[in-house]
């Protein structure tokens, strides 16, 4: 009997080593999402909730790249909308209109993303701070105009639709696409965490906090700014591709300034430096709409009311909770724990007398 106890304890210890691994929570999260998708396929979970989850996942891939740029490297860029749009049109054009196999499209798209990131990175070497934000805004506007006018590539203002997504000739249904989205989402989270904890992530933070110290420690500012922009553009293009295979339609008007502002809001509201915060923020800005608010009459009648909510959220969070909602939640948990401990202490004094543990 004792032997079995010991073996069970050893097993738990080995498993707990897994659970102490910093990525364990996200893997469990991924498994929970897969279960949710299975439920929604079976009809237990409502379709709109699952759509909001999927949208949140797609946009949080974009938001993760943006957060690496803003929260870690301290570079402001309002051009995300253009890059995401580019991602949608790349996969829509090469896989859809031209019918190339998926591997070739991936190569072309990711290569194009790296190229674009290098261009924007070189621009960022010359221009700093808020000038960079406005210049990237101009860049996004350029891209939007190109999307509107370059009909051969993007089908103009009517939008591009992308119906049959297939890998090696096997057509993939809408539900299977959701699984792909989940897998890519978890992979992106793991990649982001790896970058954050590596010397590159620390170099980004050094660049943001004190560039003199970073330079004196051997971090070439220009190289790391380039790397940051390349990573952010890659994430945005991958997010765009996921968007296209999920929504199957892309229109240039969507990739405008307010999309970039919403991504910025998601990152800021959730907390710019923690991955959980970013996912939470993206859900609040993009997913809350479909999941919760559509059930409330006021929001259905006035579709612009969500914007008021988002705007107030940004202002309140920046003014009073600069660490984002995730830090607010952690503070709340901490405070509640404190109250609980106090109450327990008082109860102990009541039950056991004055000087008890």
């Amino acid at each position: 009997m004792q032997m079995i106890n010991i073996y069970i304890k050893a097993l738990f210890k080995k498993l707990s080593r897994f659970s102490k691994h910093p990525y364990f929570g996200f893997v469990v999260f991924g498994i929970a999402l897969v279960i949710a998708q299975l439920f929604s396929m079976g009809g237990i979970l409502s379709q709109s909730v699952m759509t909001s989850f999927v949208l949140t996942m797609i946009y949080s891939v974009v938001a993760l790249g943006f957060a690496l740029l803003l929260g870690y490297a301290g570079l402001a860029s309002l051009g995300t909308a253009g890059f995401v749009g580019l991602g949608t049109y790349l996969i829509g054009h090469f896989s859809g209109t031209l019918g190339y196999p998926l591997i070739l499209t991936l190569l072309i798209s990711l290569g194009g993303a790296v190229l674009l990131g290098v261009i924007v990175g070189f621009i960022s070497l010359r221009i700093e701070g808020m000038y960079l934000a406005i210049i990237t805004l101009g860049l996004a506007e350029i891209m939007k105009e190109v999307f509107k006018s370059f009909s051969a590539f993007t089908n103009g203002v009517n939008g591009l639709s992308f119906r049959d997504f297939n890998i090696f000739g096997i057509a993939i249904s809408a539900n299977a696409v959701n699984f792909i989205v989940i897998i890519v989402f978890i992979l992106m989270i793991v990649a982001t965490l790896n970058i954050i904890k590596s010397p590159t992530g620390r170099a980004f933070l050094a660049m943001k906090n004190s560039d003199s110290a970073a330079q004196s420690m051997g971090i070439a500012l220009l190289k790391y700014r380039l790397i940051a922009f390349i990573i952010a553009t890659l994430y945005a293009v991958i997010g765009g591709m996921l968007y296209m295979i999920n929504q199957e339609f892309s229109i240039p008007q969507k990739w405008s300034l307010d999309f970039s502002l919403n991504i910025l809001a998601a990152v800021i509201v959730g907390g710019a430096q923690s991955v959980t915060g970013i996912i939470l923020g993206t859900f609040m800005i993009f997913g809350l709409n479909s999941a919760v608010l559509q059930n409330i009459d006021f929001f259905v009648q006035n579709p612009s009311a969500t914007w008021i909510l988002n705007g107030t959220l940004i202002i309140v969070v920046i003014m009073f909770y600069p660490g984002g909602l995730i830090r607010l939640l952690k503070t709340i948990v901490y405070k509640v724990k404190g109250w609980y401990l106090q109450l327990r202490h008082l109860w102990r004094i009541y039950r056991y007398g004055q000087d008890s543990k």
């Binding site: 621009i123 000038y131 406005i134 006018s149 705007g311 920046i318 600069p322």
Partner: protein, 360 residues
Amino acid sequence: MINNLLIVLVISFAIYFLIDILFLRKKSKRFIYRARLVNVLFVLGILSGFYITITQMTLYIFLQIFLLNIAELCVLALATTGIVLIFKTSVTTNFAQGTMATFGAFFAAKLLLYLTRFVDMSMTLKLILALCASAFVAFLIGLFIDVVIIRNGKNVNSIGKQMITMGLVLLLLGLMPLVYGLIPLTVEAFSYDVKIFTLGEMTLILPDHNYYSLIITVAILLVLFISLRFTKWGLGVRATASNEIVAGMMGVNTRIITAMSWGIAGALGGVAAFLYAPVGSQVSVSYMVPVQVNAFLASVLGGFSTFGGPLVGVVLINLFQSMASFFNSVWSNVIVYTLVLILVLAKPFGLFGKRTAKKV
């Protein structure tokens, strides 16, 4: 036109690199000479570009298009001055400039409808009243934003303040349909006549609306600049702009000055929106967005640190746009933005801006 621009660009780059490599490599004051070279090439390049394009376009057409675009020039100038004013006093780029202005324009349009229906006044009087109303409402919104939000966010750094303005954009964008309804409204121009005058052998047409908006804009900007240079208030604004804390210690009432700057910037935006409505389109929720983007690009082009620089940027962008839309209307925006991008890359702090170095 693109061919000309490319030729000019390539030639300027070639001259720059040749002179740099051949003459300046050995000198010690290389960077001062480089900067001067860039300035000279800039001026020469722009002038020659203009010259070539205008000869292609013929002077007559160029002047005509310029006169037709004066309204947009004035609108852009007002919007840009608003942005620069707020930047100088609160060290933030105000992304909500356009939306504050749209709010005022909506109010003015509603007021016009009300006046047309219930009160009997001449059209000009109604329009003047609506103009003042738009400016006043936008002024109030600017004041409100400063007093309620910016003042309480004292410990927010400048990036945070920028994001507060972005949040304000979303907030106002959502608020406007609730308050004013979803349908776009119209604002009529002061008059739809045109003025015809001759210059040499050319007969040029100047729409009345452009004429009046030019007068209004020049008057407002003159008043603003004169008061900035010569009055005590203007001195206070400039003092707060360079160092808010020390200005406060010297007795300048920084709170009133920042509040007034936000209000005045809002009023400028309101006037701009009112003047833009007859020209661009109807008053809808996002009709000032192109103007706002152009205003930001103009301020970046001109350099945020001066008041006059962005105005030069405004004129340049307007000229670029008129020329580009003549040659190729589909890609005109792309051409203009790319051109601005290249110019800003050549002078990263704006045409008249200055580089700030930090003491290590």
